[in-house]
Amino acid sequence: MSDNRDENISLLDDASGRSDAAIVARCRRGEQAAWDELVDKYQRLIYTIPRRAGLNDEQAADVFQEVFVTLVEKLDAIEQPERIRSWIVTTAKFKTWGVIRGKKGHYSPATDEELENELNSIPDAAPLSDDVLIELEEQHLIRAAVNELDERCREIVSMIYLRETAASYAEVAMQIGVGETSISPLRTRCLKKLQKLIGR
């Protein structure tokens, strides 16, 4: 599969932090619906981090559970709720590294300083380098934006770009019920919408 990504471009200076802060505020008030929203939004990213590091399903499940348990415990103490995504990624990375190093049991650094020291002890060659985490975060943001597209655009973008094997224009045309020649301009329009959503 081709990879056209540009290392000089970052999608992470997005505005999604504002909506995250609002969700966290609702969680702090005890709203289960807000928590469910947070789980739905981040489950894929959290599960992907340990898997990308090479952990097996069981180990990835342990990391996943520990991240959410820690999030529940520290929900009120997170100082920058608009940066909850960074907190989640850092915590998942830390828990993953704990499994790789063979640390057993539920362990959370007591302070941010302790967490930073622990993270600094992870060698650069570790499977979850900063580049990998940036890639996973960006993919998370893109998926979130795809989910915000209208149904037809979501279908087109998902079929062409998010499947393991990209669908042909003929397949997409059949799926959404338009002529095959319409797919190219529709695809372009949908990508522009997607780009706009990401750049909000």
Partner: protein
């Protein structure tokens, strides 16, 4: 699929779009298994349970002193007793001072809670009537024109309530 245009000819917007497409094409992430998502959702219940308000601690106040009107307390050096019936109740780390004055065939009650907390509500209740009051700045409270009868008094704080089970007026 999409032709790659040399960098110099591409606008920033096009480069960004190519970057997005590249990210999508290399996205191998999968959803977490359903049982894990269920676990994550349920994890919040711990917090709800931990945050749920605890039951109020109920303290039953015990009558320590009951002075009829115009009677001084035993051993008290006093010029004269109060015109009110005075009752003092012990409620653990605090006390309740109640003074009851007749007002025709009704009664006026003045009380004071002696302790650290400020009451959220104070309720005087019989089987026929209910009166409510609030603390003033001296943690005092008052009920006026209360008919004769058998009452209970409940003083509610944030995490405790003090109850005087029986106050008989008249």
């Amino acid at each position: 699929m999409k032709a790659i245009v040399p960098d110099k000819m591409m606008t920033n917007e096009n480069r960004k779009l190519d970057h997005i497409i590249g990210r999508m094409q290399t996205d191998t992430s999968v959803d977490a298994p359903a049982d894990l998502i269920k676990f994550a959702r349920n994890a919040f219940l711990q917090r709800s349970l931990a945050k749920a308000p605890s039951m109020l601690e109920r303290i039953v106040a015990v009558l320590k002193m009951d002075l009829a009107p115009n009677r001084a307390a035993f051993g008290e050096r006093s010029a004269g007793g109060s015109a009110a019936r005075q009752m003092l109740f012990d409620a653990g780390n605090s006390a309740i001072d109640l003074r009851v004055t007749e007002n025709g065939n009704m009664f006026n009650i003045r009380g004071q809670h002696i302790g650290d907390q400020v009451a959220e509500s104070i309720q005087l209740e019989s089987k026929d009537a209910k009166f409510t009051s609030k603390n003033d700045e001296l943690k005092g409270f008052a009920f006026d024109s209360v008919p004769a009868g058998k009452y209970s008094l409940t003083i509610t704080f944030a995490s405790t309530e003090i109850v005087i089970d029986e106050i008989i007026l008249g």
